[in-house]
């Protein structure tokens, strides 16, 4: 076992982790630890754009962005945090540009912007161009640019080190325990502050846009240390994933004029009961639900569980004309196949590779797919982790990015707001952790800091049952997708909770083939499955308990939003005997809850 000492440890090297690392390392001795090479992080998969009211293409205001985000969150977002994020947005996008990020450009040479679901001109209600983008590779460019800056600034990395546990002494962070994948050796990192930026947990579901590595490790680790998880029932299902595979087709496709089509060839989003005003550019929960209902009513293509996303130039031009959509200069909006190709190159590549479909010629088969965790480790605006309903700060523990819940996304995140969240709060966490570290001493390490982690691994390694982790994982994903997915019912969720508990029991009797130490990926996959099971349980129980429909949490049996009883954040603790819940109030500044129409 090796021991290292750093003032600040950043766990995770996605957009949030790199931003935190970059800022923390300016003033504190910092190490960034990641189980993947940094550039393999899932931030690189983000396609559509990062939201900021730059007003490069047309008039836009920070307040509109704020309001859209509040509305998009179905009023569950904390408004102080949302205001902060939206005000920081333009500055931080310029900062990224100054770091060299190659944004697409307008004719004047400014950062190009495109419309995205839920982002509107508040005066006219028309979709506004707010998403700053680099073709359909915005996340890739952010990840690469931040990594490049870290190389430039000599940030210390520990690549392919997986964090297994946090060390807590006197109620304060004292470091983390990691395993070096290449050797199987445990390393203890003694630190004053720990920032979790471990990303999402979309691997709980069967059809997902998320990477294999998105197993919610940060949330699972903090849950084990008595830190609650906030709003876990709110998980976003993206409307347009490639049928069966779940690979994301960015909302940017609809931003460029693509429309959703059902079996009858109708553009169903225009229906009165869905989103007659902004139609296909309604926020994601609304669209996913509409798709679910269409398919439930037998209007899936050929009666199957998918619909068409159509971005063929003739379709786009037809509906753009019907909607009276115009360019910023007032001329009617039209596109050619080349425009589509240059704005959405990767999407076209995905479709050709995986479906053999050329989107310029044929529509794409899509279905809603698990995408983004609104919930996570509760934090405040400074990135500090808060552990109860009174927002008590746990000293030295920070979180940022998808793994955290500030909460700026409330019950439903608007597209482009996550990349924004990463950089804004990644920076906050980095700056504040470094400052905290400067004003405090190292906590003494306990006698055997790696003990609990070693025990966890030993249990998995020596477990001598007959269960394969792949079987348990597959069953968990299936039940979560079927019953804790786009639409939820009491009966389904109850079944899911029971099933998860059964799987957790079976998980104690697994058998692993790999007994080695060098790159024992099976062992680590088993450990990750344990995390997913914990998170699945917390998610299902939180969802089962919330008896209303709000944002991404849509229930058959309680179809309405219930502000009287449920305008509050869920806090869930994982204990020996199950999940314990509590609630904390939502912060309001100036936006009163209204009925949400798009």
């Amino acid at each position: 076992m090796k021991t290292h000492q750093f003032e600040v440890i950043v766990v995770g090297a996605g957009g949030a982790g790199l931003m935190a690392g970059l800022y923390a390392s300016k003033t504190a001795k910092t190490a960034v630890i990641s189980k993947l090479y940094p550039t393999r992080s899932h931030t690189g998969a983000a396609q559509g754009g990062i939201g900021a009211a730059l007003g490069n293409e047309e008039e836009d205001r920070t307040e509109w962005h704020t309001y859209d985000t509040v509305k998009g969150s179905d009023y569950l977002g904390d408004q102080d945090a949302i205001e902060f994020m939206c005000e920081e947005a333009p500055g931080i996008v310029y900062e990224l540009e100054h770091m060299g990020l190659p944004f697409s450009r307008t004719a004047e040479g400014r950062i190009a912007q495109r419309p995205f679901g839920g982002h509107t001109n508040n005066e006219t209600g028309v979709p506004v161009r707010r998403a700053c983008y680099a073709a359909d590779r915005t996340g890739h460019m952010i990840l690469q640019t931040l990594y490049q800056q870290c190389v430039k600034n000599n940030v210390t990395f520990f690549d392919e080190f997986q964090v297994l546990d946090m060390i807590v002494v006197n109620g304060k962070a004292a470091g983390v325990v990691t395993i070096e994948l290449a050797t199987g050796e445990l390393h203890v990192f003694h630190a004053k502050a720990v920032i979790f930026a471990t990303g999402g947990y979309g691997r709980v579901w069967e059809i997902t846009t998320n990477a294999y590595a998105n197993t919610g490790d940060g949330i699972a680790i903090t849950l084990r240390h008595g830190i609650p998880a906030e709003d876990m029932e709110f998980f976003q299902f993206h409307p347009t994933g490639i049928y069966k595979m779940g690979i994301l087709i960015t909302e940017g496709v609809r931003g460029e004029g693509g429309v959703l089509i059902n079996d009858k060839g109708e553009r169903f989003m225009a229906k009165e009961e869905y989103a007659p005003h902004v139609k296909d550019l309604a926020s994601r929960d609304v669209v996913s639900r509409a798709m679910y209902l269409e398919m439930k009513n037998g209007l899936g293509i050929g009666g199957k569980r998918y619909l068409y996303l159509d971005v063929r130039p003739e379709t786009v031009n037809k509906y753009a004309a019907l909607d009276g959509r115009t360019n910023p200069d007032g001329t009617p909006y039209t596109v050619t196949a080349d425009d589509i190709l240059s704005r959405l190159p990767d999407i076209i590549d995905f479709c050709k590779t995986y479906l053999g479909v050329d989107p310029v010629v044929d529509p794409m088969p899509v279905q809603p797919t698990a995408h983004y965790a609104m919930g996570g480790i509760p934090t405040n605006v400074k990135g500090e982790v808060v552990i109860d309903k009174k927002n008590t700060v746990m000293p030295g523990v920070y979180a940022a990015g998808e793994t955290s819940c500030v909460s700026v996304h409330g019950s439903n995140r608007l597209g482009t707001n996550s990349l924004l969240d990463l950089v804004v709060f990644g920076k906050q966490a980095g700056v504040n952790a470094a400052e905290y570290a400067r004003g405090t001493d190292f906590q003494p390490l306990p006698a055997d800091p790696a003990g609990p982690a070693r025990e966890q691994l030993a249990r998995l390694r020596n477990s001598s049952g007959a269960e394969r982790i792949s079987t348990i994982g597959t069953e968990m994903k299936a039940v979560m997708f079927d019953h804790v997915g786009v639409f939820r019912t009491e009966a389904g969720m109850t079944e899911a909770v029971e099933k998860i508990r059964e799987l957790k029991e079976r998980f104690k009797h697994i058998r692993l083939d790999d007994r080695g130490t060098v790159f024992n990926m099976e062992l680590l996959n088993a450990w990750e499955l344990g995390n997913l099971l914990d998170i699945a349980e917390v998610t299902a129980v939180s969802a089962l308990t919330r008896r209303e429909s709000r944002g991404a949490h849509a229930r058959d049996d309680y179809p309405e939003r219930n502000d009287k009883k449920w305008m509050k954040h869920t806090l869930a603790w994982l204990q020996e005997d199950g999940v314990k819940l509590d609630y904390k109030p939502v912060t309001f500044t100036k936006y009163e809850p209204k009925v949400r129409v798009y």
Partner: protein
């Protein structure tokens, strides 16, 4: 359809020499090779080790030799290969740590050698630095790199000698050299105008054929060579 997946195996804790294991399984023509690897690992032999994450060709984890050629396992469908015997082996020219996992450090060392980051010490404007769409387009191709290493490890020059910076590093230098906002071109060209820079490239083209992002790598290298020869960056 029935396929046979032949996997290169090497466990440093057990084996002196590598060997191959074959796994038979049912597969759809639209399955990714990565899906087959997962199936083999999940249901037949848990010790098979490989890297993967995004599963759709954007993270660069799973470059490997599939039927003799570098590709991403997640971007290669069974039907693309046209045969039902599939052989997967680690990429060439980097030390093999276990099964399909190689030591990427030499690769990243070469990457870091080309100062792969934006350099412009002039004070930044209050808003963005302006760049025309044409200037942006100039280096678009090389911004797509995901550092998967498929190119560098397909290059016979790199096999011969890993001091050669390799196509990937040159691609990442190109991305900045031709960025109109960047001021570090001279510095980078100096690194590439060297024994282990562009002169080790003999336009063998394996890199371009291997690149899962379809970057015109040989062309990018050619542009760098030309920039060195002429001192012009347009």
């Amino acid at each position: 359809m029935q396929v046979t997946l032949k996997i290169f195996r090497y466990d440093p804790e057990k084996d002196k020499k590598p060997h191959y294991d074959a796994f038979k399984m049912e597969a759809e023509p639209t399955d990714r090779v990565l899906d087959l690897l997962e199936k083999a690992k999940g249901y037949q032999d848990g010790t098979i080790s490989f890297r993967r994450s995004c599963a759709h060709g954007v993270c660069g984890s799973d470059a490997m030799r599939i039927n003799g050629m570098n590709r991403l396992a997640c971007k290669t469908l069974v039907q693309d290969l046209g045969v039902n015997k599939i052989t997967v082996e680690p990429i060439l020219g980097l030390p093999i740590l276990k099964d399909l996992i190689v030591d990427m450090e030499p690769f990243f060392d070469n990457y870091r050698a080309v100062t792969p980051y934006f350099i412009n010490d002039e004070p930044a404007p209050a808003k963005e630095r302006l760049q025309s769409p044409e200037d942006r387009e100039r280096f678009d191709d090389t911004t797509k790199c995901i550092l998967c290493g498929a190119c560098t490890t397909s290059c016979p020059s790199f096999w011969a000698n890993d001091q050669y910076l390799g196509p990937s590093a040159i691609v990442n230098a190109h991305r900045f050299i031709f960025d109109s906002r960047d001021k570090g071109a001279a510095e980078r060209l100096a690194v590439l105008n060297d024994l282990f820079g562009v002169y080790r490239c003999h336009t063998i083209f394996n890199c371009t054929l291997a690149c899962p992002r379809e970057i015109q790598i040989t062309q990018a290298i050619g542009e760098v060579k030309k920039a060195i020869a002429t001192g012009k960056l347009d």
